[in-house]
């Protein structure tokens, strides 16, 4: 019997799958981008609440964090997917008038993804905030700066440098996490692949093509973050001493 490699895996077919998948990249990126915004805002909020040990809110934030980190993202997506409409129906039974079907599936997905990632991002932020030398905060306080000014001028700029690698991880995690959104019926690249593979049963080629696409997106994001990190980093070598007559 004469079998060829291409019977099992057709490189040509794999390449031909890529342009079809690329068409759905905007959906993937949109999902990741919106979820990123949610994760940054909620994550920073949780981080500051826990950093400042705000009464009442701090234990709530900690419990939320524990729940989000302790359950799989897929389960959370399902809970959001079935749970949010259920809650809205309860509201409706109380007399509200919300058409559950009008809420785009995207909303469930980026909320679930965003909140999940917020839990991890908040820890990145908190560690970064705590890495700022308490002495610098004290020096700024002694100068007569208000806490708001210190947060804005000293703590956050310094924490940001330390948080960047973690934020990069979080963005990459989100991009890959969007593949789970296919379970909510959102046609992003993973779902697109399933649709296409369902026609000719060439799953392997499709998934390899998909892996390549995710990988490339991730590499591009890493490069972008490297550039941003470089901008924020204090140079290793000092600049030259500025020679002046009276210095």
């Amino acid at each position: 019997m004469d079998t060829k490699f291409s019977d099992y895996f057709s490189v040509k077919l794999m390449w031909s799958r890529i342009p079809h998948l690329i068409k759905k990249i905007p959906i993937t990126l949109e999902l990741a981008g919106l979820a990123f915004l949610v994760s940054i805002v909620v994550g920073l909020l949780i981080a500051v609440i826990r950093y400042k040990k705000v009464k009442i809110l701090s234990p709530i934030a900690t419990a939320f964090l524990s729940l989000m980190r302790g359950t799989p993202m897929l389960i959370q997506l399902y809970v959001a997917y079935y749970g949010i409409p259920a809650i809205l129906r309860i509201f409706n039974s109380w007399g509200a008038d919300i058409d559950v079907n009008l809420i785009p599936k995207m909303v469930y997905a980026f909320f679930a993804l965003g909140l999940y990632q917020a839990a991890f991002t908040s820890e990145t932020f908190r560690a970064a905030l705590e890495s700022v030398d308490k002495g610098e905060i004290e020096a700024a306080t002694a100068m007569g700066m208000t806490y708001g000014q210190i947060l804005r001028r000293i703590i956050v700029p310094e924490a940001l440098e330390n948080a960047l690698p973690g934020i990069c991880n979080s963005v990459i995690g989100l991009v890959k996490g969007t593949s789970l959104a296919s379970t909510c019926g959102i046609i992003e690249i993973t779902y697109q692949n399933q649709i296409l593979a369902g026609r000719d049963y060439r799953y392997l080629e499709g998934y390899v093509a998909l892996a390549i696409i995710y990988w490339v997106i991730t590499i591009v994001l890493e490069k972008i973050f490297k550039l941003i990190e470089k901008r924020f980093r204090i140079p290793e070598q000092p600049k030259a001493v500025v020679e002046t007559q009276n210095a």
């Binding site: 020096a139 306080t141 100068m143 001028r153 700029p157 020679e243």
Partner: protein
């Protein structure tokens, strides 16, 4: 004329009484050396003046600002106002790590004193020149030696033209070879007529630059006078013992 008056200041950390009734009045132009054994509240006293520590009893009066203690929430603005006019230099410098020497000195001028960037830069350069580090203005703290960092910290305080400068063991965190440059800088500033309170274990230096020396023990001022009075003719045994011990350290045979 007293510009700063402390009345009956008490401060404890848990059960540990650190300041036990401090009365002190500081005149304009005074250079007050604060000496005494470790753990007797020297740093706490200094840090109570600008309310980095919050004493639970007493009263602080600085020029037109009056703060009864314990501090009340309504006086928070007054505390900020007081801090704007009293500068502080710390043992471990505490420069802003992500800012250059120049930016460190400019920070307070811009954020606190609301000066324009251009004016802040001009004043900051003057201050850096005053401590002999104008040429290092674009260096980040991590590129500077400990002594240079402390001089930048001094410039950062000087640039704000404070009415009083508090120096909390400014040379204790430095390698011995770097101490001199910082002491020289402080001496230069003392000669410019600034009012200063200096906590230090450099007795010779305190003796040389101070107009008045106070000796703290057990959270109280037990000696108060000119350097000659306190160092040469201490009234209390406690102070005499302490100075004897310090002098012994300097004798060569101690190290053999």
């Amino acid at each position: 004329m007293a510009i700063l008056t402390l009345k009956d200041i008490h401060k404890s950390f848990r059960d540990n009484v650190v300041l036990n009734g401090i009365d002190l009045s500081v005149n304009k132009g005074d250079i007050i050396g604060i000496v005494g054994p470790s753990g007797t509240g020297k740093s706490t006293l200094l840090r109570s003046i600008n309310l980095l520590e919050k004493p639970e009893q007493g009263e602080i009066t600085f020029e037109d600002i009056n703060l009864p203690l314990p501090l009340q929430a309504k006086n928070r603005k007054k505390v900020t106002e007081l801090r704007k006019r009293i500068g502080m230099v710390f043992q471990r410098f505490y420069l802003f790590e992500h800012k250059t020497a120049l930016q460190n000195v400019m920070e307070g001028l811009i954020t606190v004193q609301k000066k324009s960037k251009k004016e802040a830069e001009k004043l900051a350069l003057e201050a850096l020149e005053n401590v002999g580090l104008k040429a290092w203005r674009n260096h980040y703290p991590k590129h500077l030696s400990g002594g240079q960092q402390q001089r930048v910290a001094i410039a950062r305080t000087l640039a704000m033209k404070p009415d009083i400068i508090l120096l909390d063991e400014p040379t204790s965190a430095l390698d011995p070879e770097l101490v001199t440059e910082v002491l020289t800088t402080i001496k230069g500033i003392a000669e410019q007529g600034y009012t200063m309170l200096l906590v230090s274990h450099e007795m010779d230096f305190v003796n040389k630059i101070s107009s008045r020396v106070i000796f703290l023990d057990g959270g109280r001022i037990i000696e108060d006078g000119t350097p000659a009075e306190v160092f040469r003719h201490p009234k209390t045994d406690r102070a005499r013992e302490f100075f004897d011990k310090m002098n012994k350290l300097k004798e060569p045979e101690f190290f053999i």
